[in-house]
């Protein structure tokens, strides 16, 4: 499963699709996931706070393709913070739709007080709970997780979702989590750092 998809499921690990994480952090965490997918597949890289496209061939995934096209089309914007804020605005919808397309979630519109809100309901509860369970199990194992899993854990920490994943884990799991992010490859480490900074800035601004 793709990074942003798993992040979405961890942030909405609930039978009625309710969010476990506040909207600003959810959007930024998903944006970090979408950029992370492109980095992992070798399409873009991050250094010194800038995103650069290194491979313009279309990725297999439609959403990754869209994001890459945006990065190529607006090359005057390179700051990673700008791209995180931009992608965060639409990430919850776009990743939710991707999960709906792949049959994991079901889109539901509900009208309350003249306002239409969209939520994504799980089709199979086990499938939705799986990513969080999987990460928890990973941290209980002594061998280091794969790079994509380490990135996902990094984004979980950056967005402030640690408790959702580690609610029952022991001090050893916490310790493993703490040494994980510094060990990430440089572009991914920078991506996680910028995501954490953007989430913190949203908290400091005080605007939900």
């Amino acid at each position: 499963m793709l990074i942003a998809d798993e992040f979405f499921l961890i942030a909405h690990n609930d039978s009625r699709g309710k969010a476990k994480l506040h909207p600003a952090a959810t959007g930024l965490g998903l944006a970090g996931g979408l950029l992370g997918e492109l980095i992992l597949y070798g399409h873009v890289t991050v250094s010194n706070g800038h995103v650069s496209v290194v491979d313009r061939r279309p990725p297999a995934d439609a959403l990754a393709h869209t994001v890459l096209d945006q990065l190529i089309g607006e090359s005057q914007h390179r700051a990673i913070g700008t791209w995180l804020s931009f992608l965060a605005q639409s990430a919850t919808t776009s990743v939710g739709e991707r999960l709906a397309r792949s049959g994991v979630l079901r889109r539901q519109e509900s009208r309350r007080l003249l306002r239409t809100s969209v939520s994504y309901l799980p089709i199979d509860l086990n499938a939705v709970a799986w990513p969080a369970t999987r990460l928890r199990a990973l941290l209980d194992r002594p061998d280091p997780p794969s790079v994509p899993d380490a990135l996902l854990l990094g984004l979980v920490v950056a967005a402030g979702l640690t408790r959702e994943v580690l609610w029952s884990a022991g001090p050893r799991a916490h310790h493993r989590l703490n040494v994980l992010i510094p060990a990430l490859p440089a572009p991914l480490k920078e991506l996680v750092g910028h995501t954490e900074a953007a989430v913190g800035a949203a908290v400091l601004r005080g605007v939900p």
């Binding site: 969010a19 476990k20 994480l21 506040h22 600003a24 952090a25 890289t45 250094s47 010194n48 706070g49 800038h50 650069s52 496209v53 290194v54 313009r56 945006q70 190529i72 607006e74 090359s75 005057q76 914007h77 700008t82 791209w83 804020s85 931009f86 605005q89 950056a158 402030g160 979702l161 640690t162 408790r163 959702e164 992010i181 510094p182 480490k189 920078e190 996680v192 750092g193 910028h194 954490e196 900074a197 953007a198 989430v199 913190g200 800035a201 949203a202 908290v203 400091l204 601004r205 005080g206 605007v207 939900p208």
Partner: protein, 507 residues
């Protein structure tokens, strides 16, 4: 090298990020709602007249406004180049080094906490008339304070920042009520003639002038927060400076006018005695005389909401300061964590609430006077701390621009901050020598030295802590002053090669 410009091309990214950006009025509303004008006019000014006994308060507001406007010139210029721009200690660590920054952060924590818990001292008095009207009686001030405390603690944890529209409506109502009260006061001058004696320097530059100037600074606390919106404003180069100057001007005009008309209505020679006797009730008693009962009821209700709004706003400011320090790991990392669902800085908010509870209980158990000894002392001690922060920031601005002032005019990087620094240090010197007047205690009271001495002690401890960090945890030391952005500093190696040109895609 292609010469075609890509900047003017319409950009989805720029446009979608620009949507919802703030203009000057929104930023001013935010700043003023944190300033809680009715709390200052009904609470601070009246108690100030009574405790300090100097009649030059209206002029003091104008003097302080001029100094702060001068200070803001360099401050807003530097704010565009500083991470964590809402916090004075961020400027100080950039301008004067990280040890000074941590010292300033400690001072700021104490000052903002003092301002916040001070408000618990006045909520009982503010609620008294409202509760009397509804229930025909009122409980002990501490019970009201505890209810308010529970509300603030809960809202802080749930991060229900009061809806901006509600705050704006309350703010407008407060200002309207203040202006109507002012009209009533000036329309009924004592002895039948309007006296301008309050604006005479003779009535300000008397023993106690330092105390009055600190009181005036207290009224302006919050003006510094416009810079938080640098990134969210429509045009940071214009919106933020304009909003800062206009906020200072509006606050100055409103407070100078109100404190002056108050003196006019009571009589400049009577105001000190009347304020000492009636305290927070003064402007409502005047309004009852001139305007009738309805105006008083509305005014008292708004005073209550104003104090509550100020409490919540200072609670959030304090919690965010603590949160930023937790993110930097200068305080334990737990303070940098948020509640997942609400995004509230949970541990930071809880810590502030626990401190508030302890102070309320301390005052209630000892039976100390809440208005003078909690509200006024907390407010003025906090205000003095903010004065120290502003003055140090002013020095930091000069030091910063000496090193990297390219692109700023001489006025912005040296002249204005220089003048402001001199004026601010004169105010500090006056305040320290008048601290007994400020508190309204005897000149040989231990409090007279103990309260202001808290700050240098805290600053020294902060500097020492920073030096410990420099040796024992250099990665934490590198993050000092960056606030939320410190997460980026942590991943950026110190000796980083410039971005290789090869990763650039040729177009």
């Amino acid at each position: 090298m292609p010469t075609t410009s890509t900047v003017d091309r319409p950009s989805n990214v720029s446009e979608s990020l620009a949507r919802g950006r703030l203009g000057v009025p929104s930023v001013i509303f935010f700043v003023l709602s944190a300033a809680a004008p009715l709390t200052v006019v009904a609470g601070v000014v009246t108690t100030g007249y009574g405790v300090i006994g100097v009649t030059g308060i209206p002029l003091a507001f104008l003097v302080v406004a001029a100094v702060l406007a001068l200070f803001s010139v360099g401050y807003v210029a530097m704010s565009r180049r500083v991470e964590n721009a809402g916090a004075f200690y961020a400027y100080i660590s950039r301008g004067l080094g990280r040890p000074a920054g941590v010292g300033a952060a400690w001072v700021a924590l104490i000052a903002y906490n003092a301002l916040q818990v001070g408000l618990y001292g006045t909520i009982g008095v503010a609620a008294e008339p409202v509760l009397d009207r509804i229930f025909g009686g009122h409980p002990h001030w501490a019970i009201v304070a505890l209810v308010a405390w529970a509300l603030v603690a809960l809202l802080g944890l749930l991060r229900v920042d009061i809806n901006g529209l509600v705050l704006a409506a309350l703010l407008v109502a407060e200002i309207v009520v203040i202006l109507i009260f002012d009209l009533g006061q000036i329309g009924n001058p004592a002895g039948g003639e309007v006296s301008f004696a309050s604006f005479s320097p003779d009535n300000l530059f008397v023993p106690g002038v330092g105390a009055v100037l600190v009181l005036a600074i207290l009224g302006f606390v919050g003006f510094e927060s416009a810079v938080v919106f640098s990134e969210e404003s429509k045009d940071p180069k214009r919106t933020v400076p304009l909003a800062t100057y206009l906020s200072v001007a509006i606050i100055a005009a409103l407070y100078a006018l109100s404190s002056w008309t108050m003196a006019v209505a009571v009589g400049p020679d009577q105001i000190v005695a009347a304020a000492g006797e009636q305290s927070v009730g003064l402007i409502f008693n005047l309004a009852a005389e001139h305007l009738g009962d309805t105006a008083v009821t509305i005014g008292q209700a708004l005073f209550l909401t104003s104090v509550l709004a100020a409490m919540i706003s200072f609670h959030n400011t304090t919690a965010r300061y603590t949160f930023a320090l937790g993110r930097e790991r200068v305080l334990p990392a737990v303070f940098g964590q948020t509640s997942a669902r609400s995004g509230a800085p949970r541990a930071a908010s809880l810590a502030q609430s626990v401190f508030g509870l302890l102070v309320i209980l301390l005052y209630a158990v000892n039976g100390w006077d809440p208005v003078v000894k909690l509200f006024f002392w907390g407010g003025t001690t906090g205000g003095f701390g903010v004065l120290l922060l502003i003055a140090t920031t002013s020095v930091a601005v000069i030091a910063y621009f000496v090193r990297s002032g390219a692109g700023e005019t001489l006025w912005r990087r040296a002249v204005a901050p220089g003048l402001a620094t001199v004026a601010l240090f004169v105010i500090i010197w006056l305040a320290v020598s008048n601290f007994a007047n400020l508190l309204g205690v005897a000149p040989d009271s231990t409090l007279r030295w103990a309260l202001p001495a808290v700050y240098p002690v805290a600053a020294a401890l902060g500097v020492a802590w920073a030096l410990v960090l420099r040796n024992s945890r250099p990665d934490t030391y590198a993050r000092i002053g960056l606030g939320a952005a410190s997460a980026v500093a942590a991943v950026r190696p110190a000796e980083q090669p410039p971005a290789p040109a090869a990763t650039e895609v040729p177009r």
